[in-house]
């Protein structure tokens, strides 16, 4: 009989093990930001890109989603504010304050106002710094100049960018450095006053100093926002997050307090991954 490759062994382990007992449940006293019940994603309608995942995220905490490339962590994250709508079929429930966001009658544009998202590449619009932040607001309602000014200022302050750009709000956002652009994009998301901020590897295209600034920004933000962040950087997850969820090959493997995941994970796969012995 042919010897199994490592990948096949892992595959088999994942298939055989009942991982639900490695997913911690939040108790009653923990307020929930958002939770999923048997959330699945398929791209072709046949095979799960994301196997049924049931997980609850605590309010005003930072949760890291970690795992290798193709583990499904980004797919999972994008499902939370229905960014996968036109790309994939998402099954199961996404519960936000008791409402199932995955229901067909839900207005996805309203959902995305409450659940903001920041992507890997800094992607400011080709507008001024000011207009980048006010864009979504002016599309959706009437605001006076004073109100807009105030929102721009608070958003930029929250994203720790105000001091650097307060004199050049009319300049093109594309002239900012990568790290500044990423914080501008965060400010843009904050301008809508969302509850939850989803970040898909927000610092992986940035240098260490900008990364550090983004991390500080996120830690400061968690007083007012619940943050879910996908990251490839294990130190980053360990540094900033309260909870960590480990994904592997389209499956949620283990979910626990960050310090437990990084010191004594219950699943060997998780241990291998966080200690760098993986693959």
């Amino acid at each position: 009989m042919a010897k199994k490759t490592n990948l096949e062994i892992v595959d088999q382990l994942v298939a055989e093990t009942d991982y639900d007992r490695y997913i911690i449940q939040l108790s009653k006293k923990h307020e929930r930001a958002i939770e999923t019940k048997d959330l699945t994603v398929t791209y072709d309608g046949l095979k799960y890109a994301m196997n049924p995942a049931t997980i609850a995220f605590e309010k005003n905490k930072i949760t890291s989603l970690i795992g290798g490339s193709g583990s499904g962590k980004s797919t999972f994250l994008r499902s939370l504010n229905r960014m996968n709508d036109d790309v994939a079929t998402v099954g199961g429930q996404i519960l936000y304050q008791g409402v199932d966001l995955n229901a067909p009658e839900i207005d996805v544009f309203e959902v995305r106002k409450r659940i903001g998202m920041v992507f890997q590449r800094p992607n400011p619009f080709a507008k001024s710094i000011y207009d980048n932040i006010t864009f979504a607001l002016t599309q959706r309602g009437k605001y006076s100049r004073v109100e807009l000014d105030e929102i721009v200022e608070t958003s930029l302050k929250n994203a720790a960018l105000w001091d650097q750009v307060k004199d050049s709000l009319d300049k093109s956002a594309l002239q900012l450095s990568g790290g500044q652009q990423q914080r501008l994009v965060i400010a843009r998301a904050l301008a809508l006053k969302p509850d939850i901020l989803l970040l898909d590897e927000p610092a992986s295209a940035l240098d260490p100093k900008s990364t550090m600034q983004i991390e500080e920004t996120l830690v400061n933000l968690k007083n007012n926002y619940s943050i879910i962040i996908v990251t490839h950087n294990m130190q980053q997850a360990a540094r900033i997050s309260d909870y960590t969820a480990f994904f592997n090959m389209g499956k949620l493997i283990e979910y626990d307090l960050t310090r437990k995941i990084f010191t004594r994970p219950k699943v060997k796969l998780t241990d291998d991954y966080v200690s760098g012995n993986f693959g």
């Binding site: 008791g98 409402v99 207005d107 309203e110 599309q139 959706r140």
Partner: protein, 307 residues
């Protein structure tokens, strides 16, 4: 369940309605264009086929016959409606002009993108774009005034013929192929060039083995666009090709193309006559050919997308 939130999340906002309206608007535009295209196809094909249905012309004789004199019959009583001379004429001027234009176009494009981007961007590209916009009658007029007399002096014939048509079309399609080739070369990512230089390739090796190879689908698309333009060009060709619907026996003998016969004849025939019907059949052949060119372009573009 949080009812208030549910209300907020499910009520259709004005923006959502506008979004749906926009979707319907663009769908309507699509349907309208689709209808127009379908109507043109239907019209040309139904009129074009009447040659074979109403007038009982054998399609084989139409496509491969070499005598073109609608309304006249030969001794056996067959209508003289052989379109082969025009088909050959059209293909000859089209492919010869593309054959000559392509090397020049690629050379120019390489100069603009690879050899001297600064000079190319400033001077060459505006000039090329200007050439694309010149009306074809101007090209035809210059052909008539310059090319035809020159050919007449050189060869001793009338000067009208396939060669003159090729020269005029060459000048016409050169800017088209060039500017599209420039786009194709520009789309080759800069890191490919850097990677080639980094393993010690010379600029020429980089251009020939890396950049051009990567741009092949784009360049092919450019050439097919040039072919399509040359094939469909009527006026400029008509002014210099000689308009004699006989099998061309050389580059310098007068000939005719599908388009030149159409523009000449369509005003001089009566609706419903055989002479008119066969012109529609020629138009149908033209239409089918441009469909073919389009299909080829799409095929190439799809192959590029797969990479």
């Amino acid at each position: 369940m949080n009812d208030e939130l549910y209300q907020q999340l499910t009520k259709k906002s004005i923006s959502t309605k506008k979004d749906n309206f926009g979707k319907r608007l663009s769908l309507f535009a699509l349907i309208l264009i689709g209808l127009v295209v379908f109507a043109i196809l239907f019209f040309v094909v139904s009129r074009g086929l009447s040659t074979f249905t109403l007038d009982q012309i054998n399609p084989f004789n139409f496509v491969f016959g070499t005598q073109w004199n609608p309304g006249k019959t030969d001794e056996a009583g067959n209508q003289l409606v052989g379109a082969l001379p025009m088909i050959v004429g059209s293909f000859a001027v089209t492919f010869l002009s593309a054959l000559v234009a392509t090397p020049f176009a690629i050379g120019t494009a390489l100069f603009v993108t690879e050899v001297s981007p600064k000079w190319g961007n400033k001077i060459m590209q505006p000039v090329i774009e200007l050439l694309v916009g010149i009306p074809s009658v101007v090209y035809g007029f210059i052909g008539l005034a310059v090319v035809v007399p020159a050919v007449r002096n050189a060869t001793g014939g009338t000067g009208f013929g396939i060669f003159s048509g090729v020269v005029v079309l060459f000048v016409m399609i050169l800017p088209t192929i060039t500017s599209m080739t420039i786009d194709a070369l520009r789309n080759v990512p800069g890191h490919m060039r850097e990677s080639a230089y980094a393993i010690g390739a010379t600029p020429w090796q980089t251009i020939y083995k890396v950049v051009l190879r990567a741009a092949i689908p784009g360049i092919l698309t450019a050439i097919v666009f040039g072919l399509a333009r040359a094939f469909g060009e009527a006026l400029a060709v008509q002014m210099v090709v000689g308009n004699s619907p006989v099998m061309p026996d050389g580059l310098f003998s007068p000939a005719a193309t599908l388009t030149s016969v159409l523009t000449q004849g369509i005003g001089n025939t009566t609706d419903g006559s055989l002479a008119n019907d066969v012109l529609w059949s020629l138009a149908m052949i033209l239409l089918l050919m441009s469909l073919l060119f389009n299909t080829i372009i799409r095929r190439i573009a799809n192959r590029r997308a797969l990479k």
